[in-house]
Symmetry: C2
Subunit: 407 residues, 2 copies
């Protein structure tokens, strides 16, 4: 390597890709069924409304120039107010970000110094792990159960003197495990954060996409903090309006929001103005967003049910999973003895031309680092949001054909 | 401060705002003339074309979903190819970024470890200084002259054993000083970078907005590097199509582009897809961008000339400046003995209700750190891009009325 290409420590230690690749080629001429996606359904997004909103913003002399000019690093005031009103917080607590990922990054920058310990759920979203590692954090994990992590175990660790700079959680329709936490759980978690001095980054991209019941919220006294609160709530329009807008938000103390906005002035200045104005224009139309959300919930509920029923038909009792109650994913425990890191298993899936996301992609530990720890190679994540029910049934059938009797 | 609000070192050391505020209120009832802007002229941007392009992208089944979905962290292929073709480099050397600022940030992340020394021009763009400081860099500066820094002085420093991780330069229509560097200067700079092992971040947001002659380029053998080259060329559509799109680019070695794209996967994933598709759609129309650039060059040339002539009328020989040859700014040396950090001077400007950007905003040294060094309080930056010629003349008249005879 040339001397002038001497990279930074960060650039020289980029790590493995967050999602482990399936290392076998697929065979055969049947069309692929791709169950890896974490994207909205292409057939439900209202492109015509999007186009009209952009047209209105650019056709209105009051917004045309602003929508293609520099805007506040906090986000445009109209959109901040709409998010604040919708999420039930004061506007000073809302920062507009380039998607939820950018919220996690900026939160990490406000909190993490090299050597700080970040506690994460196991399994969890691997892109967040990358962000924390890149910021120089040491990672520690705590197992996820139905209903969230075991808060008794967390309290025990804290009582024993273990300290964390922050706890990263995906509180509702967790990615990949689909777990949902209750109001009591959220409240007790924040009380622990308050008492033992750690921040809580609550990454909640799927929150609006519930099937039967809206998830419980965090207690208001942590969400309306004028100065300091441990809570950083991260949301996004990526799963409801589309990730290509790159418009998300973070709800945090006004002081945190202030600092995050100054940091972003050294990252990219501000989020796209045109996207913010267009989304704000759409949200102004009474009930427009509510109606879209209702349609999306119905669509994803139907798709989840089709997948669940096909998996039960194909596998019977051979697999274990919780039925999704929202979000985009089903976390499938494979039949006894089957591991996704086994080349024979990968061969069998390739022969069926069906793609799923490897469970070990979501393990917080580096492979081989701690053999006592769960590696989740006995799980796969199935994304049901992007495919019609017919394809989901086909995918479930092929998974069963590949895996039943393989162990 | 609560223990859980313990911020990172970064968040606790956010520093002064990059532009020093004028600390006097303005008085009187005459309308403000604001000469601080670095934004395109609101009356030349083609909002109708923008709206149509977004409509075409969202109305086309081949692009509708992609334009609101996740896209490659490198940028969409169509736009990368268009930028590559236009700028005369292979597509592998092009990364799409969230504006030029994001390119500087990502370049800094690939290069800087805490303690590295970054060399900058004096004066220079303060937001870049913030990015380098935030990455933990020590800053050293080298004085800018007409035609760029003195490369003999740079070579002398290098021969004496001083070493830099990177040199940050704004090669054409420098912000704030307006200097332009020649092909020979660019070539010799890169030869020094090659020989002494430092990277060159060439931030060039104003490059396309020349008045009479297109600026010289960097030598092709540094711009087509398949693996390693010291050159990171940063460009943007912010000054030509509007900053609100948040679409810029970095041209660098394919290996650098690869690493920058992986880093951005931990910052925000990717740039806005809709903006990329819309701009790509606009660039497809033959001569559309060329015609817009021609109109912009003519408009800004006329505005610069109006400002220059009004300053000469108002000040005579009392001020010193080079006539702008492109870009958005005029760097005005104030009349002998007048300093912008003098409250009487600020009062005089406030009474005239005219705003300019303080020259000391562009000094690389922290105030008071090195008294031997230039602080540029004897300069102001005047932005001429955003105001009609009438307002520029009015602004120049008011500046003269405020400052003549004040020393």
């Amino acid at each position: 390597m040339s001397v002038y290409a001497a990279y930074s420590h960060i650039a020289n230690n980029l790590g493995a890709p967050p999602f482990l690749p399936l290392n076998r080629d697929r065979v055969g001429d049947v069309p692929l069924v791709n169950l890896t996606g974490g994207v909205p359904a292409a057939d439900i997004l209202p492109y015509e409304s999007y186009s009209q909103a952009v047209g209105r913003v650019l056709g209105n002399p009051a917004t045309a120039f602003s929508s293609v000019s520099y805007v506040s690093p906090f986000g445009i005031q109209e959109l901040r107010e709409q998010v604040a009103h919708w999420r039930g917080v004061p506007v000073e607590n809302v920062l507009v970000t380039n998607g939820a990922m950018n919220g996690i990054f900026l939160a990490a920058q406000t909190l993490i110094d090299p050597g700080d310990t970040v506690l994460v759920e196991s399994p969890t979203f691997p892109f967040a792990l990358n962000i924390f590692r890149r910021a120089g954090a040491r990672l520690e994990s705590i197992a996820l159960h139905a209903g969230g992590i075991d808060l008794d175990e967390l309290e025990q660790r804290l009582r024993e003197g273990r300290r964390y700079k922050l706890f990263y959680t995906i509180p509702d329709f967790q990615n990949p495990a689909g777990t949902l936490t209750s109001a009591e759980h959220k409240s007790r978690l924040l009380a622990l954060a308050d008492r033992y001095g750690f921040a809580v980054i609550a990454d909640n991209p799927y929150r609006e996409l519930w099937f039967d019941h809206e998830p419980d919220g965090f207690p208001d006294d942590y969400r309306h903090a004028e100065r300091y609160s441990p809570l950083y709530e991260i949301g996004t329009f990526s799963k409801t309006l589309g990730p290509g807008w790159r418009v998300g938000w973070t709800i945090a103390s006004s002081d945190v929001v202030q600092r995050m906005s100054v940091i972003r002035a050294c990252v990219d200045g501000n989020s796209t103005a045109l996207g913010q104005y267009a989304i704000s224009c759409l949200l102004q139309e009474p009930y427009w967003f509510d109606r879209l959300l209702e349609a999306e919930r119905a669509l994803y509920r139907g798709r989840a049910q089709a997948l669940v029923s096909a998996l039960r038909t194909g596998f019977g009792d051979a697999v274990a999973f919780d039925e999704p109650r929202g979000g985009f994913f089903l976390w499938l425990g494979l039949p006894q003895g089957i591991r996704i890191d086994d080349p024979h298993v990968q061969d069998a899936l390739a022969r069926q031309n069906v793609l799923v996301t490897r469970g070990d992609s979501f393990a917080p530990e580096q492979p081989g680092r701690d053999p006592a720890h769960r590696d989740y190679a006995d799980h796969v994540r199935i994304g049901f949001s992007a495919l019609p029910e017919r394809d989901l049934r086909e995918g479930a059938d092929r998974l069963a054909a590949a895996l039943i009797g393989l162990a």
